[in-house]
Subunit: 191 residues, 2 copies
């Protein structure tokens, strides 16, 4: 029995990293997809753990061979989700989690009909605003731009299959686990 593929996304600031970290503590039959990037490793980052660090030429080659489930450019660096490791891990029986931003998530959901999208929402827009402002590292203009992006990202929720409100990390992680467990043992074509 193969594992299943889940794309977990949500607006910037919703706290999906923390929720996914907790999810992996709760369940051991999960595999987290690792992204490839052309950017330089930061201190402490390990190749094959945090990212696959690859060259620009190699990145383009993978694009040409259709080797990414999704890819995008941010401030001059490229990021992508390699397809083969995701398929391999699922065939080994792991449920594979892809933690990516909303636009990339929609690319994956389009490219992989078997993948299911889980959208993480803040309990309120005000709460999202607080969390983005609370970082305290950004200018007002940058916070405003992030809030606008977050509102647009929220509007993409109808492309996803499951909806989880991140009111508490524990609650949200358990809710995702319930979704994953409810689909274990079900063949894709039975749905």
């Amino acid at each position: 029995m193969s594992g299943k593929i889940y794309v977990v996304a949500g607006p910037s600031g919703v706290g999906k990293g923390t929720v996914i970290k907790r999810l992996f503590e709760l369940d051991k039959n999960l595999s987290l997809s690792i992204s490839a990037t052309t950017r330089q490793p930061r201190e402490g980052e390990v190749d094959g753990v945090n990212y696959y660090f690859i060259t620009y030429d190699r990145f383009q080659e993978i694009i040409e061979n259709g080797g990414f489930l999704e890819h995008a450019e941010y401030v001059g660096n490229f990021y992508g989700t390699p397809k083969q490791p995701v398929i391999d891990k699922a065939e080994e029986g792991f449920d594979v989690i892809l933690e990516i931003e909303v636009q990339g998530a929609m690319q994956v959901l389009e490219n992989m009909p078997g993948a299911k999208g889980i959208f993480i929402l803040p309990p309120s827009f005000e709460e999202l605003e607080k969390r983005l402002k609370g970082r305290g590292t950004e200018t007002d203009e940058s916070v405003m731009r992030r809030l606008e992006t977050a509102a647009n990202e929220l509007g993409c929720i109808n492309m996803f299959d499951y909806y989880v409100v991140n009111d508490t990390v524990e609650g949200a992680a358990n809710r995702i686990l319930e979704i994953i467990e409810s689909r274990r043992g079900i063949e894709d074509d039975e749905e």
Copy 2:
């Protein structure tokens, strides 16, 4: 201290009627807004309880006087939310709940800056599909059309302030109550 105004909406089939019924059992300081309509009362419906049943001419007069917070036409009948009773009830100290469909809810949120929007989501799109199909009273084509409408309505979520997943009626009703209680005693201009 005045009460506050909440617009509760969500896609067709999400079960908001049942959630709101439970909410009113849990809290006695709430008032449910009553809509006006030009359609004929059905058996058992009481004027001023289920709806205000009014004539077409009266309905147009209220529109012209700006007396509706929102209004719309469905299959030849008009429906609207009268403004004054909502304001009166809030001034009496009740938190007022408006249960309307998504398009109407957005009209109210635009017209009343103090009103907050609470969006009710299904736990998954599949669940919404099941509920709509489960009614068993509709053709496949009609179900498809409803699902398309539901997907569009989900995409309007970014116009709302609070997000509640209806996984259980009890859970959703309590979550709405938490939202309302968290704002009691806060003046609008403190937010």
